[in-house]
């Protein structure tokens, strides 16, 4: 995306600051661009953190108290974008959801068809066992723990698949890959909610 010229000296630049007069620019509403990174799904979280600290210092509103009102405003906006962006980008699931949104996918409502029937059976059985455990039937504990492990393993498996698809998209930028990612994220959300629910019930009934 072509950046408009610097608001202060009207020269071309790239990045957050003008290369000619060093004025802070109006931040582009995109987490990757605040971090000065390409839109990639695989990302080194440690490098991201280092970049986050570095930019946090550079963009901190305290550094702009003697600058123009416009730059003070930009530093606030950029800092807030940076913080939000760090929270989203460091988490693989949120990062993928963000990229899907930016690439024009609607990630809200999903039909029921994305849940395979055999998974539904398992989910149903797990819920039955959870209900028994909630009602104080300690015999259900074994079944619940078994189910928790099974679902946690499923989630790990999905995470591995996601990692591969992330790399695939970074290399080829094919929409079909994003479609697959979207399907996996749905399944993951479903399973993740279950694991969380099981853990809650297991703690409460201890």
């Amino acid at each position: 995306m072509e950046q408009p010229p610097c608001w202060q000296c009207n020269k071309k630049y790239t990045g957050l600051f003008c290369a000619h007069c060093n004025a802070l620019q109006c931040p582009v509403d995109d987490y990757y661009s605040v971090f000065g990174m390409e839109r990639k799904l695989s990302l080194d979280v440690q490098a991201l953190q280092a970049k986050f600290y570095e930019l946090s210092r550079l963009l901190h509103p305290d550094r702009f108290t003697r600058r123009s009102p416009l730059e003070r405003q930009y530093s606030l906006e950029a800092s807030s974008l940076l913080n939000k962006g760090y929270r989203v980008l460091r988490n693989p699931v949120q990062r993928a959801e963000y990229v899907l949104k930016k690439e024009g996918f609607d990630i809200g409502e999903q039909g029921t068809k994305d849940v395979p029937p055999e998974l539904l059976e398992e989910v149903f059985e797990l819920n039955m066992a959870l209900e028994e455990l909630k009602m104080g039937d300690q015999q259900a504990r074994g079944a619940v723990e078994e189910a928790r492990q099974r679902f946690a393993a499923m989630r790990d498996e999905i995470d591995r698949e996601l990692e591969q698809l992330f790399q695939q998209w970074d290399e080829k930028h094919e929409r079909a890959t994003l479609q697959q990612i979207r399907g996996l994220l749905n399944r993951r959300r479903y399973i993740h909610n279950l694991v969380t629910e099981v853990e809650n019930v297991a703690t409460l009934s201890n």
Binding site: E109, T112, L120, E121, F124, N186, Y190
Partner: protein
């Protein structure tokens, strides 16, 4: 946001909770789920094969109040209907009867899907049985 009286009624006194024998050839089982909210719904119908009338319906739903109410109401509506009449039940009937707000419409869609899945399962079983009978003759 408050639930309507009818939702609360079905939630507090759900009708026809339970299960029917899955292996009975006259029983159709529908299992559906919504990944976004983690709901899962099982709905079963027992059909008289001579008349094609649904004689019993049971459900078990894990989910929010609206999902429970939608499936509870669905089982009430199913009893006494023919299989074809049951397939004509629309989620909008559930929405109107329960006064579901727009954000809960998907619960009624789930219930409609469950009805369709249960009847499809029943029909599948009947077709399989007829095939066996035809083969024996």
């Amino acid at each position: 946001m408050a639930y309507s009286q009818k939702v609360l009624d079905h939630y507090n006194n759900p009708r026809n909770v339970g299960s029917l024998d899955k292996s009975d050839p006259n029983v159709g089982t529908g299992m559906v789920g919504a990944p976004e909210c983690g709901d899962v719904m099982k709905l079963q119908v027992k059909v008289n094969p001579q008349t094609g009338i649904i004689e019993d319906a049971k459900f078990k739903t894990f989910g929010c109040g609206s999902a429970i109410a939608s499936s509870s109401l669905a089982t009430e509506m199913l009893k006494g209907k023919t299989v074809e009449e049951a397939l004509a039940i629309k989620n909008t009937e559930l929405v109107n009867e329960l006064s579901l707000p727009p954000v809960k419409v998907h619960c009624s869609i789930l219930a409609e899907d469950a009805i369709k899945a249960a009847i499809a399962d029943y029909k599948r079983k009947q077709a399989a049985r007829e095939a066996v009978v035809a083969q024996a003759q």
